[in-house]
């Protein structure tokens, strides 16, 4: 009786996320893949198999896998010391740095790509390294965009990690490196694997970065699907590659699930305040400084560029002209709406996407971390866990086209629903939210919930008393992330946005798509506005304090 009720309760919890995923992901993607598999009304997988045997397909898949794997590894290696420095150590300005680190995440790929290329291009300051158009440039770009994921996901797990087991190890004679390897790493591993799997998926489906920085010599599965779908309308080949993506992502998720598994997921959490750096912290601090420098350089070149005004006949001078031009439509018709309006649209959409992602992600995380009472229950949980990661691993083009061909009949005629843009963005942000919350919630000792229940707390009250205080900060962190994802999202938005209500990235894209030095300068200025908005919002989120919930 109680078991049935418990399962029904859990089922109800999962209903909303499952429905959203079903309608806005599974239906469109399967619709699109079906178009490739079904030719003239009959099921013909032969053509798809033929695509898979093409040597080009093999090359493309191989490049995607290795470039994503290497980029993920590098992002983790660079991200760990930074996560430590930014979340465990106390120093002036770390909040600001933490907020700013999310900036790369929201910058439009095209503009960053252009800024990057100005640094590494033939005549750029890093020109002698001859990186432009190489796989190294792609890797650098992928790391630039994704290292903040590692820092944020790992950092929020590290932040609340009890420092005493590490001290116990040190007191037994373990050097800092040994402490890290034997005590800290096992506790961090679930978070690191989570971050790495998300980064890998972002890299594997990263689209603009590869094209801008790698030129045309490199193709990934994602760029190939884009070409096949939009230019060639070769739906069979596109379906074949989408299937490859699905299979590969599923494999990756199974692997990640294995790597995340630990004998005892319970983690003792403390709210130990970060401490001042010591001499032994010089190495991670130095590594962090280098990373920050590497990230800041392209961003700074954007900022500098936004304050330069081109003079007729060549040369340029310091000026605020680019920003002045942004405020009105002026004579520049490329701006259909003033940038301020676009910013407001962006923020409105981002707020919607954020609450959607937090709502769905929160429900899911709770569902995934309740203790399983049977093997079947555990299976169902792990399948669900993976299912919601899928949207990250599947081509935005497949999804976007799928929206249009499947959601076109009542009652699901949602093609022009205002829901679509924030929902599409929320689906992208959802895995980040889930991956940030699950390790933390799983670390809560179930006995605390039982204690709350034994004191008369209902499930909701127990959640508020036990889980919410622990999960509050990660929830904020992932909310910030969702917000940033939404602010910067371009792929899905460009498919779905209304031209008279563009988001800021769409405006930037439009500006940079036309000749004229003012257009370019305005695009840079708009990027700075986007970056500054992101940083400010993140800073505000960081300043929100946990209300005292312990007394509930």
């Amino acid at each position: 009786m109680t078991t049935t009720r418990r399962l029904l309760g859990l089922g109800a919890l999962g209903l909303l996320p499952a429905a959203v995923l079903g309608v806005f992901f599974l239906l469109p993607v399967s619709g699109m893949v079906a178009r490739g598999l079904v030719v003239d009304g009959s099921f013909e997988p032969g053509a798809v198999l033929e695509v898979l045997t093409r040597p080009r397909t093999g090359r493309v898949v191989w490049f995607t896998v290795w470039s994503s794997a290497v980029a993920t590894l590098v992002a983790v290696l660079l991200g760990l010391p930074a996560a430590y420095s930014l979340h465990r150590l106390e120093w002036t300005g770390r909040r600001v740095v933490r907020a700013c680190l999310l900036v790369p995440f929201v910058l439009p790929t095209v503009v960053v790509g252009v800024a990057f290329r100005q640094l590494i291009g033939e005549s750029g300051p890093l020109g002698p390294l001859a990186l432009d158009g190489t796989a190294w440039a792609i890797l650098a770009g992928l790391v630039f965009f994704n290292v903040s994921v590692v820092i944020r996901v790992v950092g929020s797990a590290w932040e609340s990690l009890d420092s005493r087991p590490g001290e116990a190890a040190a007191a037994l004679g373990a050097s800092p490196a040994q402490v890290f390897r034997t005590v800290t790493w096992p506790a961090l591993r679930p978070a690191v694997v989570s971050a790495a799997s998300v980064v890998f998926l972002f890299c594997a489906t990263g689209f603009g970065v590869v094209l801008v920085l790698g030129g045309l010599a490199f193709s990934t599965v994602e760029t190939e699907i884009y070409l096949l779908t939009t230019d060639l309308l070769d739906l069979q080949a596109a379906a074949a590659l989408s299937l490859v993506q699905l299979v590969a992502v599923t494999g990756l998720l199974v692997l990640a699930g294995r790597l995340r598994a630990v004998p005892d997921p319970t983690v003792r959490r403390t709210t130990a305040p970060p401490r001042r750096p010591r001499r032994g912290d010089l190495a991670p601090l130095g590594a962090t400084a280098l990373l920050l420098l590497a990230i800041a350089t392209p961003v700074l070149s954007l900022v500098v560029g936004s304050f330069r005004e081109a003079l007729p006949g060549g040369g340029s001078t310091w000026s605020l002209e680019n920003y002045r031009a942004l405020t009105g439509q002026g004579d520049n018709q490329a701006l259909l709406v003033p940038v301020a309006d676009a910013l407001v649209t962006s923020i409105r959409v981002a707020v919607d996407a954020t609450w959607m992602a937090l709502l769905l992600g929160g429900l899911l995380a709770v569902l995934l971390t309740r203790r399983s009472r049977s093997r079947t229950e555990r299976r169902v949980r792990s399948v669900l866990d993976g299912l919601f990661m899928l949207p990250l691993g599947v081509s935005a083009v497949t999804l976007g086209f799928g929206f249009l061909i499947t959601l076109d009949e009542p009652p699901l005629d949602l093609r022009d629903s205002p829901l679509l843009i924030p929902l599409a963005q929320a689906l992208v942000a959802l895995p980040l939210v889930v991956r940030t919350l699950v390790p933390v919630l799983a670390g809560v000792d179930d006995r605390l919930r039982q204690a709350a229940a034994s004191l008369g707390a209902g499930p909701v009250r127990a959640l508020l008393t036990v889980d919410l205080p622990v999960v509050w900060r990660p929830l904020l962190a992932s909310g910030g992330f969702a917000f940033a994802v939404s602010l910067g999202e371009f792929g899905a938005t460009s498919f779905l946005a209304r031209p008279d209500a563009p988001t800021l990235p769409v405006v930037i894209f439009r500006l940079i798509g036309h000749p004229g030095r003012l257009n370019y300068g305005m695009a840079l200025a708009a990027c700075v506005v986007l970056a500054a908005t992101t940083a400010l919002v993140m800073l505000a989120v960081e300043r929100l304090r946990v209300p005292s919930l312990g007394a509930l």
Binding site: A170, A171, P176, Q178
Partner: protein, 333 residues
């Protein structure tokens, strides 16, 4: 081979927690630092271990280790709640420090043997493959102790090693701890707020209050002559009497007069020939004796004891004597 602490101070955000503490722990001895919660004793221990930034100096056998990081000091710290590594089995927890120091197959065999030996020492044979979360509180502390002893540290630092346990277990383990430390010949510095624990484990005692060391010496010496009223109460004396009351109690005990006197609960004994007299307020029987509260004429309420066969009831008047070995004369403030 002596731990020498000179003028050690630790501050958290400019609020001093330990103020200028100097101590010595000779080779093979166990020193207990006793003090109430928040007196800075755990911080002192962390300072010695190198887990807090401290001023002053810590030296072992004349070698200054103040600048050395924790893991190079060769000390082991056992935490109040054990701090076992939850992701490792009991055996791997105990063998942790050994694995840090050596690798290879031979080392593995040595480690295995040593782990078994240590588990036997703490009475946990056959526990090697269990995970810490399946252990009881007492078992966890024993594992923590075995883990701290594994690499034969030159100094063992014990942070309230038994305080998380229930009373019976605590008394039992305290005795064992004493025996294990003696048998292993370990030099140890222990902090605790429980004087019983300190008495049963340590050779010497130091009393700390508000970050300062107020008294230090062999246990019986500290015990016999606490330096002030606060120390006396903390050492388990039941009451401190001053002025006229102190004079009368001391006179009753046949001791020289002093400004104040600390009285243990068993210091006042029902004795028909005793110099004091009062009215019994309450009686409580324990297995060994009866505990009384007596309103002594002109002194107020005092604790007293009587043999089990002494029959009395509340409201009766009794005569009382004072056992001179159970009172301590204190200098006035």
């Amino acid at each position: 081979m002596t731990l020498t602490i000179r003028d050690l101070s630790v501050a958290y955000d400019d609020v001093p927690a330990v103020r200028g503490v100097s101590l010595e722990v000779p080779d093979g001895s166990v020193l207990a630092v006793l003090g109430p919660s928040g007196c800075g004793k755990s911080t002192l221990l962390r300072g010695v271990a190198g887990l807090e930034q401290a001023t002053g100096s810590v030296a072992w056998d004349g070698e200054d280790v103040t600048r050395l990081p924790t893991h190079r000091r060769g000390f082991a710290l056992m935490f109040q709640d054990g701090q076992l590594f939850d992701h490792l089995t009991v055996g791997r927890n105990v063998g942790y420090a050994l694995r840090l120091r050596s690798r290879g197959r031979a080392a593995r065999a040595t480690e295995h043997a040593r782990v078994e030996e240590l588990l036997a020492l703490v009475g946990l044979e056959g526990y090697a493959d269990r995970l810490p979360r399946t252990l009881s509180g007492g078992e966890r502390q024993r594992v923590a102790l075995a883990r701290s002893l594994a690499h034969q540290p030159r100094l063992l630092l014990l942070d309230e090693p038994l305080s998380a346990l229930d009373a019976g277990l605590r008394r039992h383990l305290a005795g064992e701890l004493r025996e294990i430390l003696t048998r292993a010949g370990t030099t140890a510095l222990m902090v605790t707020h429980d004087h019983e624990e300190a008495f049963s484990v340590a050779d010497r005692l130091a009393v700390m209050r508000e970050g300062r060391l107020v008294q230090e010496g062999p246990i019986d010496e500290v015990w016999r002559s606490p330096v002030d009223a606060g120390t006396a109460l903390f050492l388990g004396y039941a009451r401190v009497l001053e002025g006229d009351a102190a004079r009368r109690v001391l006179a009753a005990a046949g001791a020289p007069a002093a400004a104040a006197v600390a009285v243990r609960r068993s210091a006042v004994v029902v004795d028909e020939r005793g110099p004091l007299e009062g009215e019994v307020r309450s009686i409580r029987s324990t297995p060994q004796l009866q505990r009384l509260v007596v309103a002594v004429d002109g002194l107020g309420d005092l604790d007293a004891v009587a043999p089990l066969d002494h029959r009395t009831s509340p409201g009766d008047r009794v005569r009382l004597g004072v056992d001179v070995t159970r009172v301590a004369a204190l200098a006035g403030d």
